[in-house]
């Protein structure tokens, strides 16, 4: 079962460039590896900067590029912090983040596993985020955080939409549908060997029986450049 | 005589016959290192009795750069009239790695470590 929220562009065109980072599920406490979020976000932003055509005689253009770099660093860091915080560490699936560059825009997609019990809560947060005026939502979130004495306010996603003008979307997938939805068709099309196909199906069943209740959520951010 | 880039610099101090290297050098292959090798060859052409290479601030060098340095050391070895001293830093992990190989190219090569 797949559920889509917000502006999730599932049928992507071929991007001009992409870079993808895949992180293993980790046994090290999150606090110890927290710095890796920032490190990874800055790396993606720096990497992207290299892909832009640079012209030292065009300061306006350079300024714009630096703004995009900072924006990617901020957004990627927020997405990674969330993914690491909310990831279901019992899931065998890794966390991945990918950056696609097109001529006039770019997209960031991050995927992580969440326990089935948390799905409804997250989806209702998304619905609230999408249906409330950003200004109101901002003040509500700060007020609530102030009352609870909490720090996690869900402000990260709001700032991505409201401050950086990005489009945000989500895809929730149950484990059964992971990898390729049309298994046999996909493999025939790609001329894979049947043996390989059966091996993959077996692996899929084993994974499914071990982790019956895992949902993968992919968050997609699209930004005009 | 010097080459200064955003990422690295190679500066020759004539008074002490010392070449100061600093930064991170990971240029794209032998050709990209050609200007640096030319600079070194020009210094060798001045025929000083001794050349010192201070590599202590050179944080990283790729294998194309190691190859370029190796070529220069090898050419000095064949000349036989110039002494060569390399100043390295133990704190920079890669520097101790190349030492033994450079020695193979020039048995009379001298080192000083900090």
């Amino acid at each position: 079962m797949v559920k889509i929220f917000g502006e999730f562009n599932d049928k992507e065109l071929k991007s001009r460039e992409f870079i993808k980072l895949i992180f293993s599920p980790s046994s090290v406490p999150l606090q110890q590896r927290w710095r890796n979020n920032s490190l990874s976000a800055d790396f993606l932003a720096d990497y992207l900067m290299t892909l832009f055509h640079q012209d030292e005689n065009d300061p306006k253009r350079l300024e714009k590029q630096i703004e995009i770099k900072d924006t990617i660093s901020y957004i990627a860091n927020e997405l990674l912090e969330n993914a690491m915080k909310f990831n279901d560490d019992s899931s065998p699936y890794p966390i991945s983040i990918q950056l696609h560059l097109y001529d006039d825009r770019l997209s960031l997609c991050i995927s992580n596993s969440i326990p089935a019990a948390k799905v409804a809560q997250f989806q209702s947060f998304i619905n609230k985020l999408l249906s409330t005026e950003p200004q109101d939502f901002y003040i509500q979130q700060i007020e609530t955080a102030e009352k609870d004495g909490s720090i996690s306010s869900g402000l990260g996603l709001l700032t991505i939409i409201d401050d950086y003008g990005a489009k945000l979307g989500w895809k929730f997938e149950n484990l059964q549908l992971l990898n390729e939805p049309n298994y046999p068709l996909y493999y025939i099309k790609n001329q894979m060997k049947w043996l390989n196909f059966w091996f993959r199906v077996r692996k899929w069943f084993v994974a499914r029986s071990k982790n019956p209740n895992i949902t993968i959520v992919t968050t997609m951010v699209q930004l005009a450049i | 005589m010097k080459i200064i880039d955003k990422e690295y610099s190679v500066i020759y101090d004539q008074a002490t016959n010392t070449v100061y290297w600093s930064g991170i050098m990971r240029l794209n292959g032998g050709q990209a290192y050609e200007p640096i090798l030319q600079l070194l060859n020009k210094i060798a052409a001045l025929e000083p009795a001794k050349i010192t290479m201070n590599l202590r601030d050179l944080k990283a060098l790729n294998s194309s750069g190691i190859s370029m340095l190796g070529r220069f050391i090898f050419s000095i070895d064949r000349k036989k009239n110039i002494q060569l001293l390399l100043l390295g830093a133990k704190a920079v992990p890669w520097q101790q790695k190349w030492a033994k190989n450079f020695q193979r190219l020039m048995p009379a090569l001298q080192f000083e470590w900090v």
Binding site: L30, Q31, W34, N37, S38, I66, E67, D70, T71, S73, Y74, N77, E78, E81, K85, Q135, Y138, I139, Q141, I142, E143, A145, E146, I151, S152, S153, L155, G156, T159, D162, D163, Y164 | -
Partner: protein
Amino acid sequence: MDIITEDYSIKYDTETSTIHWQGIMRLNGKEYNPIAELLNEIAALEPSQITLNLQKLEGLNSSGITMLGKFIFKLAKKKTIGLLIQCSKKITWQQKSVKNFQRLMPKLQIEWD
């Protein structure tokens, strides 16, 4: 009343009631608590005005924005302390996100370098 780490520092100058922020702060949620406490201690001194100088704070994640937002909201309710935020146009997150603080405290003064 200072907090200094490898990545960032927060220093309070009593004479001018200015808090100088510097570096990159991307802490994990609760890690902001000591900083929130520092801000509350300063507010408890009841100066007539507090200045937050963010011109050298190059990076701040949304948990940090929340922490600042909560402090600003608290001052707005208090009504006895004026607040000035000094920002830099060169720093992208400030360009994007500082304007929202005004919503929490309409009397907030924002100064750009």
